[in-house]
Amino acid sequence: MLSLVSIFLTCLALILIPCLFIFRRPSFPLFLKKIIIFINTTASQYNDEEERYGTIGEKGKRGRMPKHVGIILDGNRRWANKRGLRVSEGHEAGARTVLEHAMDCFAMGINTLSLFAFSTENWGRPDGEVNFLMAMFEKNFKSEMAYFDRYKVKISVIGKRTNMPQSLLGLIHEVEEATKNYKEKHLIMALDYSGRFDILQACKSLAEKTKNGLIQVEDINESMIDKELMTSCSEYPNPDLLIRTSGEQRISNFFLWQSAYTELYFSNVLWPDFGEAEYLKALTWYQQRQRRFGRRV
């Protein structure tokens, strides 16, 4: 009986799994979501064993899921150009992809998902595009607030916030306040974010604490800077896996300090086309790598 069921499941896998790598947008997403949830259940077994026994053997490394995944959402404009669409339509397609896949990520056991949606350098884009993006962020925060509240997703927005419209800032504050008590799932939106600015503001924050007598100069070290970075809002501030879409192979001023031992995965797929199959590829690739955090084995 056991072997018959195993054979059946293996045959099912033989039929379904290759489709993950053939179809960009599978025509049967419901099956894929179920597979992802099944895989999460298996992976969580390995995580539980690791926590219970405190040992990480090869088997454990294979089954480990990243706790914090960062994604650089690149390729919206190229996606639109390829289809003869307006740039704004590319950004809207990218936003839909965010909303569609955020919950899939959490279902896979990922605790924190960071999305690099708008960098400080992006302010240099044409005014029309920038204004559209700000309006789109506002629209999506408004429309999805109830959704994130219902699914208990904590929302944090990190970034400079100096040039953002007041209406957007107010909405961000509202969403953060409404979801601040949730712990299991954390979505971090990096808007007007710069890795260098993150380091600088951490140094400035420590300087002010020193000036106010809260800490001594000689106490300042790497871990104090870690605690002042914008990612300190997360239980897992350093990403385990950083994905960049659209084929570019750089981190473009995202999480410079935090990414010392982060696995970097560069996908050739443009962000609006990044789907379940690409997630699976990134996660299985992550699980096949060894990470030693600079120590000798």
């Binding site: 099944f38 294979r62 300087a207 100069v217 192979q249 970097l264 995965y265 590829k281 030693r292 000798r296």
Partner: protein, 256 residues
Amino acid sequence: MDFNDPMLVLNSCIGQIVDFGLDLLWRFIHIIVSLCHIVSGIFEAIESYAISLGLIQRYCSIDIEKLKCLAVVVDIEAAARDVSKVIELLQWLTTIGVKQVGLFDSQGLLKKSKDMILEMVPRSVLLQETGERDISSDRIALEFISSSNNKEAVVKAANILLEKYLKSSHPDKGEEEGENVFTESHLNEALRVVGENVQGPDLLLVYGPVRSHLGFPAWRLRYTEIVHMGSLKYMRYGSLLKAIHKFTGVRQNYGV
């Protein structure tokens, strides 16, 4: 009660079967992905040998002028065991015409072998010794970097800015004064004061089992192209040429 016992046993059996099936499914996915990697690895190896033999025309001449600074990240195991491979890599880079190379390993093992590497790599000089002078076309400037040049250096630079801030802070200025001291150019300057190079490499080649920059100075990595080259033990000249050639074709928007 009697009815419940067989049901519990049945549920437990079903649970075990499902778990076993899921395990098979997950292993199968790993097999598929591993096979894909093996096949693409074979193709890459063939292409690399073809490039080394000069069979692929477009790799025969590379516009090296675009590559001002290249950095190499080496896994600590390779840094400990394969210094000869590092020397061979540097010799290849000299042949290609790269003028400035930063060598990084997290523990600073290559720093300890600095003298030997400088001796074994022809026409090599320490970057610090070149100063502001342009590196002549037949020389290669080497920089040895470790984790102490990363976060530790930023902490030292931050302390310099902090002292500046505390000395110059005025009760009336407050926030404004902080913004005047804590800027990118100020931190660049402070890093130079503690002896750090702030120039970001154009291209970072990572040799090791992991595609991670392993703690390369974060401040310098803003727009750096990062390419994972695999194990240093199995490095290939063709792969190196291909990575550099690909970099020369990259066009960055810098976010704009």
